[in-house]
Every structure is written in C-alpha cells, then in structure tokens.
Symmetry: C2
Subunit: 128 residues, 2 copies
DNA sequence: AAGCTGTTCTATTATTAATAGAACAAGAAG
DNA sequence: CTTCTTGTTCTATTAATAATAGAACAGCTT
C-alpha cells in the first residue's frame, strides 16, 4: 500500500492516512476482508506514532470502512463498498457545498465541474 | 445577508462565516464592490467576537474574494467573480478528491455524483 | 513461553479556535 | 475641530485538537 503523507499540510496526518485508505478502497486495491497493518507496524512504516494510526483506524471504523477485531487486527469492512444511504448523500452534499460555491465564483460551468470530477475519478482508477 | 452558524459543527465558525460569504458571492446576492459589515457590527449581529469576524475576513482576503480597505471598510473584491486559474483548478481537485473517493466507495456513479453537484448548484441559485 | 493484537492510561508539547479588552491611526461626518 | 467609525495591533486567557511518548493489560496465535 502506498501512503504519502504531506508533513506541511493543513490536513492532520491521521486524516490524510484515513483518506488515502478510503482512496485505496475506492480504486479497489483494498477489498472488503483485506487486512491492514497493525497500528505498530503501520506507524513504524510511516514514521509516525502508534496512537496516530489508531486514531485514523477509529475514524474509519466510525465511517464503517474498516472493522477492528479485538486482538486480531484490522480489516476492510465487509460493507466497505456499499450503496449510499440518503444520509450519506446529505453528508456528501454538505461537504461538497463550500467547494462548489467557490467553483461557481471561479466561473466554472456545470460541465467544467463535472470534468474535474471525471479527472479525479480517472486518477482514482488509473493508479490500480 | 443571511448567515447561519452551527455552533456544534466541526467546522470552525470563522470558516463557516467565510464559506457562507463565498456562497453569497456565488449566488450573486453579493456582487463585486458591495460592502460588508464592519468587524464590530457583524460580530454583534452574529453574536460572536470581533476577532473571529476579522479572521474570516482575512481568510477571504487571502483568497481574493474580498478587499480590506484600511479605515474604510470591507468590500467584495472586484475580481471576486473571475475565471479560474490552473492553480485554482488544482486546488479544487485536491479538495474534492477525498470526497469523491468516499462517493465511489458508496458506489455512486459518475452520473449520480453529477446529480449531487447539480442539486447543490440549484440550491446556490434558488436562494437568491 | 514468546510474540503480536488493539486498548487503555497518564503525560507532555504545540497549535488552533475563540473570546476579551484596550489602544492606535486614519478616514468620514457633524 | 470634535466625534464616530474603520481595520489593526497588542496582550491575555480558555478550551480543544493534534501528535508524540511510554508503559501496561488482556487475549489470540504460534
């Protein structure tokens, strides 16, 4: 698994880690049932603290993307890839809203915004 | 201007304020040259601190959405509505990426994601 | 028995968010 | 000229978050 952490990002590193794991699930390089490194091994590999990895894991567990099994390890949740609920859609819209507002100020058309999304989707598939 | 701050949001209130000002520019209810309330008046109106409004203003100034004129006041930047630069597009993509990744895990198709964007765009126009 | 698993506990350090009050310099308005 | 308002600056405090650190625990695997 290829994780790249930007030390000088405004995004906390535990979040960067969690987001990149989600990306791996999105692109299919991590599939439901796959195991993730232990908090210690991952921390050593990434040069960060065990507790930071743990925080990322719990963030992902709350989002139901991974499953933490006591004394066993961490696995991609069986429902890691699933159909969005209406609540999911609302949450995604809330997160997208400020970005779309900015895009509209920057005079991006609907088509241009859709192109951005397509480029991102391609990025998330090419890298398999 | 209608600003609604969610006290219990994980998004800092200075950011919520800034984002909602951007939304107003996006929907056209605030146009380049329009003046914004003074930091004191706005703070009193919203029930928050002067310094918090100031922080939102400086955040928006850095993004070139408003112009702070010494001893005069704050105005929507003449370039508040402008054509996106290539850097703008890259920044937007970086912000969109983790959300799109999550959308893909939730098995939203390209069309379904585009529908979300359309719904948001409508929201940002209807409210004029 | 040894090693590994996530968990829990206490602890420290640094940064950010938010508030508060006072004072300043400069423009506007009377 | 005086008064008010403007954004700015300064110091200060409080709370929360991020990140690190080390130790210990319970339970599974080998």
């Amino acid at each position: 698994m290829f994780i790249e952490i930007e030390a000088n990002s405004a995004v906390p590193i535990y979040l960067q880690l969690a987001q990149q794991i989600i990306e791996s699930v999105a692109k299919g390089s991590l599939k439901p049932g796959d195991s993730l490194p232990s908090v210690r091994a991952f921390a050593a590999d990434l040069g960060m603290n065990m507790h930071t990895v743990n925080k990322a894991y719990h963030y992902l567990e709350e989002k139901e993307f991974i499953q933490i099994v006591q004394k066993k390890g961490v696995f991609i949740h069986e429902n890691g890839v699933r159909k969005a609920s209406e609540l999911d859609r609302l949450r995604l819209k809330k997160e997208l809203r400020p970005i779309i507002a900015e895009a509209l100020c920057l005079q991006l058309s609907q088509a241009e915004i859709e192109l951005l999304i397509q480029e991102i989707s391609l990025d998330l598939k090419e890298e398999m």
